[in-house]
Symmetry: D2
Subunit: 340 residues, 4 copies
Amino acid sequence: MSIGILTSGGDCPGLNAVIRGAVIKGDRIHQVSFLGIRDGWRGLVEDDIVPLPRHDVRGISRAGGTILGTSRTNPFEHGGIERVREVMAARGMTGLIAIGGEGTLTAARRLADGGIPVVGVPKTIDNDLSATDYTFGFDTAVSIATESIDRLRTTAESHHRCMVVEVMGRHVGWIALHAGIAAGAHAILIPEVEVSIEQICGWVENARDRRRAPVIVVAEGFVPSGEEHLHAPRGLDAFGRPRLGGIGERLAPQIEAITGIETRAATLGHLQRGGVPSAYDRVLATRFGTAAVDAVVEKRWGTMVSLIGTDIELVDLHSATTVLKTVPLERWDEAAILFG
Amino acid sequence: MSIGILTSGGDCPGLNAVIRGAVIKGDRIHQVSFLGIRDGWRGLVEDDIVPLPRHDVRGISRAGGTILGTSRTNPFEHGGIERVREVMAARGMTGLIAIGGEGTLTAARRLADGGIPVVGVPKTIDNDLSATDYTFGFDTAVSIATESIDRLRTTAESHHRCMVVEVMGRHVGWIALHAGIAAGAHAILIPEVEVSIEQICGWVENARDRRRAPVIVVAEGFVPSGEEHLHAPRGLDAFGRPRLGGIGERLAPQIEAITGIETRAATLGHLQRGGVPSAYDRVLATRFGTAAVDAVVEKRWGTMVSLIGTDIELVDLHSATTVLKTVPLERWDEAAILFG
Amino acid sequence: MSIGILTSGGDCPGLNAVIRGAVIKGDRIHQVSFLGIRDGWRGLVEDDIVPLPRHDVRGISRAGGTILGTSRTNPFEHGGIERVREVMAARGMTGLIAIGGEGTLTAARRLADGGIPVVGVPKTIDNDLSATDYTFGFDTAVSIATESIDRLRTTAESHHRCMVVEVMGRHVGWIALHAGIAAGAHAILIPEVEVSIEQICGWVENARDRRRAPVIVVAEGFVPSGEEHLHAPRGLDAFGRPRLGGIGERLAPQIEAITGIETRAATLGHLQRGGVPSAYDRVLATRFGTAAVDAVVEKRWGTMVSLIGTDIELVDLHSATTVLKTVPLERWDEAAILFG
Amino acid sequence: MSIGILTSGGDCPGLNAVIRGAVIKGDRIHQVSFLGIRDGWRGLVEDDIVPLPRHDVRGISRAGGTILGTSRTNPFEHGGIERVREVMAARGMTGLIAIGGEGTLTAARRLADGGIPVVGVPKTIDNDLSATDYTFGFDTAVSIATESIDRLRTTAESHHRCMVVEVMGRHVGWIALHAGIAAGAHAILIPEVEVSIEQICGWVENARDRRRAPVIVVAEGFVPSGEEHLHAPRGLDAFGRPRLGGIGERLAPQIEAITGIETRAATLGHLQRGGVPSAYDRVLATRFGTAAVDAVVEKRWGTMVSLIGTDIELVDLHSATTVLKTVPLERWDEAAILFG
């Protein structure tokens, strides 16, 4: 029996621990071997596949990124179910583990609906997948963002500045919420909650009045209420293409203009998704990996591994891919008590 | 209205974030002020109490330890309910937040049973409290242990040695389990599971045969099966008092003698409980702090804040203090697949 | 006897360790007291000065930034020598320790030339001051940049991308050189060395051909040869003011266009100057602080503390402020062997 | 032309960066190939040698330990010069790079004196080699020790304890000196300086009187004056062999007995020598590696690469191996000002 495994979409700390967990448990308990599919769905539809013996996963759970490579290829634009079935048959692949986010899991669900034997592993640095309490990658991202804000704060305090820190989160504000609470931010701005520039400046002034250097954490997808037009292009890049300024860089001059407090923006960007995974993420990813190979062996096609409380459970891929898990207003309210 | 707050028992990363969360929410939302009780129950029975204005909790969630100090004083040995009631009345304290582990919460429960208006916040670096999925401190401890094992492994590999790393956990093996999984240990030894020295050596030889430097993670409370007598004193300390060697230092020479592999022990000790809390612990501790002051205002005496899934809930102090939360065998089995 | 102390210019990890070292040695050995001047020269010319007892410097060497605050005020635009003499006399200040970079030390030198009793402590995160082998802050900046590149590399490798990482260094490339060597960059671009976009792309393709994800480290002051016009404004900011794109963001699309390799830019920015100082910087800064107070007591006006090999020596402020310490071509050549 | 390379003695962060620097520069500039000698001198006298192509050193400068393995084998006990010459001839090895500490470099010197074409690279985590300002590994060790002391301090403060932290340094106190300064220790105890237990307790009480938790940093080779007998065995280990208690564990109960302050000991041990090297060590090690291959190509047999100020120079192996570089008294005096 041979199982294919792929990682798809943006990279995320913990992917390698999932791979390692699945391969070792498959080798030891179920006597199954693994085939490594390179660069996500691309490798599957292009038949770019290599054996993945246990030896090759040695020690990888400490490494960031994914040893299999990743891409954003959509299998349904490259032959779809028929092509996937063909390659799997040619390779003698009797099951497939697809590790990825909303897009990947939606593709996996459609493949499963079409009869492809596939099991999903949820991956989202943004924590935006419903049907699982958390996924790996999120804890590392929050840790890096928190450490970065701790660092930026000392400069802000020395110079009596306001600092606006932009973290990941196009559609949901989980990273901003957790990093903002952990770092003691004076405001946390997320896509889910409407806040005006005036209200932001109120928190900034409040912090300043208590002799603090105001620190604002903003998710990249936040838009101040009444200023949706700010999404319009800001200037041109080196090739004359219109560019969108990040929300952090757009907010900083507005805050400075209104409050008179010197304000700087910092954008953490890719730093949040790379490097050594946190212990939390390694444990969760390892558990996901071993549970996924069990699901394959038990032919639980169309399911996804999931963290519920402290347990790993199998849930239907449909339940995981239909609703975006946004920050509930009460969680933001709970945090907002500490603002300003 | 004035609320007393104390931290008791061993220190733990996140204590300050609980204090900060409670004080700020109390100040802003409930208009209550706080009294800081110094060194746990000692400060309460000795009336060593200071005002704790909001200004004093500024920026403390990033700091390890506790700004209030701590001790292992048991209030029932120093006047008990009568003395506590007397001091609280003299100070105008209408409620009490007690942050601590099993001992502290048991005292809090007895006080509550006796009519003292007290709310508990669970603190255990060992993760051994039932009635809450996790508490703050555990994640930081696991992170530090994991990083340390990552470091120790490179030396073991360069010298072709076996490394035995002793982590905290006198009664339960949660830190060993999580750090061992995260660091890819070749064996995880915990108090809950019987393992013989022969079995340990089997894993060590297995790893060696695959050209790995064997890494064993052992909780301090582990005893090899059939060797309970090893708890007998080992030598004398500088003052002639009998001393107990740690389990790591006891195992290392045995493994070396049986397997012939050079073996060293490292004991992480207090490193695991100090320093900057992880982002995870700061978030959880902050949420516990704000929830605790709500519970006080709502007069939910005799309850404890608790993490259930991703929610903060109130549970009865009785439920929290009667059963030790040990590692279930299936969790260890799940990890043991990766051993050797 | 009372000594004034100020920190001026951009903040830098280690400033607090200088202050602590000077204050404690002054208190214990020389029986001198300190006055803390707030926000650099601003506090001196505006007489914003507070007592700085030993108690206030407790434990601060671990903290980033400066407890005294800082600014970019130039004393010669606010009363100059006369005003400085006046405030010092009024405060009974018999000596002054000025901690800062090229601008600060030039001002200190002019004040010393005019008879003001001042001693300098060199501070430059960029390592651009001659007359000292290193200063504090540089090691922390290099450490953070190196860790960040380590993180970014895993994402680049997973996605088969080229990553351009922009680090500090407007006029000199020391941070880029050291972080680039430490992180194993495939090219290091610094203001001191002319390199064309074609040569950069050659290194990128070379790395790609060996199946590596190319990593380019660029100092913010680098300009590709033949493309000086790129310094022209790029687009407008949120207030319609012209903005300069960073060199990293300008290089990335050019590399992608020429090589066909997907390329992303990351700008580390203020992250490099904040937060907990490295052990190296704390030791050096502490030694600078204790040496500076000795110099004041010995009335060595117009000198600056300096690291020569492993010794702390006093050098003339003139020697420190006339030549920018650039990266010698042979140091870059030595590193360039490892490019591509 | 083929060059042998080996790492010998205790492992040390930066060894891999030396190897990588030498191999890449050899390949690119000098067109020489490398042979990797396994486990130090053992691999040489036992002819356990493998090709070391450039591909094998990819990305290793970030990894702790040594990819070549190490041992404490002395070549003069296994055939000496004749055997070394024989194996080198059989392998076509025209030069040798030996990376190691005092023992390794002494062996290298004797081999060079006997006509073996060898160049040395100094490695000492303890910083005890004369003829070089610093070597790689020391900075990482100091960094880890400093971070650890930062962590331990918070526990000490919360519990109002004294903490004794034992760091590496059997013969010299450099790690203790630097980590002690960086972490703000209240006493630094090193083998080079006589200090009595009474004096130590004086510093401890001093710190306590100023409401600090006393932190003592002690090098493992320190002996309190008048108590040399303390080196006598302390108890028995698990096999009945006499064991020496560490100095930290011996001091703690004495300090507690004399001062009445609860005192704990922590021994950092192997943690200090493993794991990811600091940026400083990676840069220095890379420079050493590239300079060593140059020295081989220029047939500078019997020399060693060395850091003088900021330059890499070649020095005679004799000069490097005759004098132990101890901490000068004035450096300890400089630090002692901040004690207590």
